[in-house]
Amino acid sequence: MNVCVIAEHRSGVLHPATLELITAGCDLGSVIVGVAAPVPDGVLEALGVAGVTEIVCVEGSGEELDPDDYRAMVAELVRERRPAVTLVASTPHSFAYAAAAAAAAGLGFASDVQALRLEGELVVATRSFYGGKVDAELEFPNRGGVLLVLRRAVWTPAPATEGRVPRASLAAGRQSRIERVAFEPTVHDGVDITKADVIVAIGRGIGDRENLDLFEALASKVGATLAVSRPLVDAGWVSADRQVGQSGKTVKPSVYLAFGISGASQHLAGMRASGTVIAVNTDPNAAIFGAADFGGVFDAVTFAQELDKLFTP
C-alpha cells in the first residue's frame, strides 16, 4: 500500500509530529514524504528516517506554512503519486488545509484519528466523539484514497537512519493567494509552567471565579505551580502563560493534578508526558480519566478543600 506523509516545518525545524506520521505510515505500507519547498537543510536531514522511501519536495509560493501552498501540495501529491492513504498531523496549521484538500480531491476523510488498522486493503480508523466519551470505528467505502489527520503523541517518532533517502521535485502548479504579514510570538512576563515538578491544573469544573483563590492557595501549600486549561484563559480569569495545551505550553511534571478538566484532545496534547496524572471531575465519562493514572469522581472545589486540610500552611 502506498502512503504519503505530509511534513510540516517552520523556521528550519521539522515539526516532530511528522516523525509520528512516518511510524503510522510504515505500519500500513511504503512511505513517501511530501515537504513544502524550499526545504531547509535541517528539515531534509530530520526526514532521513527509517521507512521513508522518497522525499518529494513540492515547490509553492516560497513562503513557509502557507495554507494555500499546503492545500496545493496535497492535491499535487495525490494526483501524481496516487497514495492509498495520506497522513497529516493534527496541528493548528493543518486545520486550514487538510479537509479542504481531501474534499476537493474526493478522498475519504477523518481527523483526530487515534488508531488505524487495515482489513485487507481497507482502512479502518478509530476516533472519539462527544468530547472523548465514546469511540467509533470508521470506514471509507467507495473511495480511491483516504486522508487522515492523526492525533499527536499516539504513534512514536520514527528513528533516524543511515544512508541518503532519494529525493524528487514537483511543482504545485498554482499560486498562493495568501500573504504572510508576520509571525508574532506572544510574550508574557509571567511564570514558566514548563519548569514545574508538580502542577495543579484547573478547568471549567472549578465553577465560579472566586474559587481561583482556593486553588492558588492549594498550589502554594503543596509546592505546585498553578496551570489552567483553555476555557479559563478565554474567560479572562488567568493569563495565557499558565495555559496547558496545544496552543499553550507543553509540560512534563512528575505529578499533574487535573481538577475540573474534561480532557479535550488539545489539552491532553500539552500534558501527556507527565509522570503521574491524577484527575478529579464530577463526570465519570470525562475523557481525562482515559489519560490519568488515578481518578476520582468528585467535585473539584470540595476535593481541593479536603486536600488543603492535609497540608500544613
Binding site: P67, F95, A103, G106, A110, F129, K133, K249, N285
Partner: protein, 250 residues
Amino acid sequence: MRVLVCIKQIGVLDDEIVFAEGEREVEPDCLEPSLNEWDSYAIETALRIRDENGGEVVAATAGSAEAEEVLRRALAMGADRAIRIEGCTPDPYLVGKALGTLTRSLSPDLILCGAQSSDAAHGATGAVVAGLLDLPCAAVVNAVSVDEVRGDVEVVRELEGGMRDRLRMPLPAVLTVQTGINQPRYANLRAIKLAERQPIEVVQLEDGGEPAYRIRKMFLPPAEGRAQPLGGDLREAAELVAKLIQERAS
C-alpha cells in the same frame, strides 16, 4: 458587506450513555441540544464586522426543525437573516457541500465557521467549504480585520506554544474562529422575543454525494486505559492524593 456565519446545534452527552440499535450512534435521548460554543464566537465576529463595515449577517445551519433554536439565538444576538438547510446528514462533507451551495447563491464576502464543534470535533466543515469552492481559508483565527476597499481580510491565527501568525488574503474567504476571540454579546429579553417572530428561511439542498466517512460501530472507550479509582470516600481519596504527591514529586 455580507457575512455568512455557519453554526451548529451540537449534542451534549448525558452521564448515562445508551447506544441506538445497530450501535452506530447514541440514542438521541442521551443528547442535550446546545449552540456549539465556537459558533457563538463566530456569530459575534460576524456581528462586529457588520457593525464596523455595514451590510448584513446571514446565519445558516444544517439541521432539523429543532436546530432552529440556534438560529433564533443568532437572530437575537443581531443576525439579519437566518437560513436552515433541511435534510442534510451530519457529516463534514455533506454539510460542507450544502453550505457551499448556499454560499454560491448568497455570494457572501466572508464565510465564518467555528474552528470545531464540541460533539464531533472534526474541525473540518469550514475547510471543506473552502476546498469545494476553491476559496482561501485560515483556521483557528483569533483576530479578524476586513478591508472592504482593498477587498481583503487580515487575520491572526494560532500556531502552537503561543506563536501567532498574521496573514492576509483576498475576499471572499473562509475563516474558522477560535474561542476567546471576543466576548459574545448577550441577547436581552426583548431581542429574544423579537427573534421568536422573525422568519427563518428553510431550504432543501441537494444531498447527493458521499460522506467523508461511515461509522461501523460506536462503543465506550476500553476500561484498561482508564485511571485507577482514588476510592469512594472523599477523605480517603484526598489522603491518597496527598500521599501520591509526596511520593512521586522529585
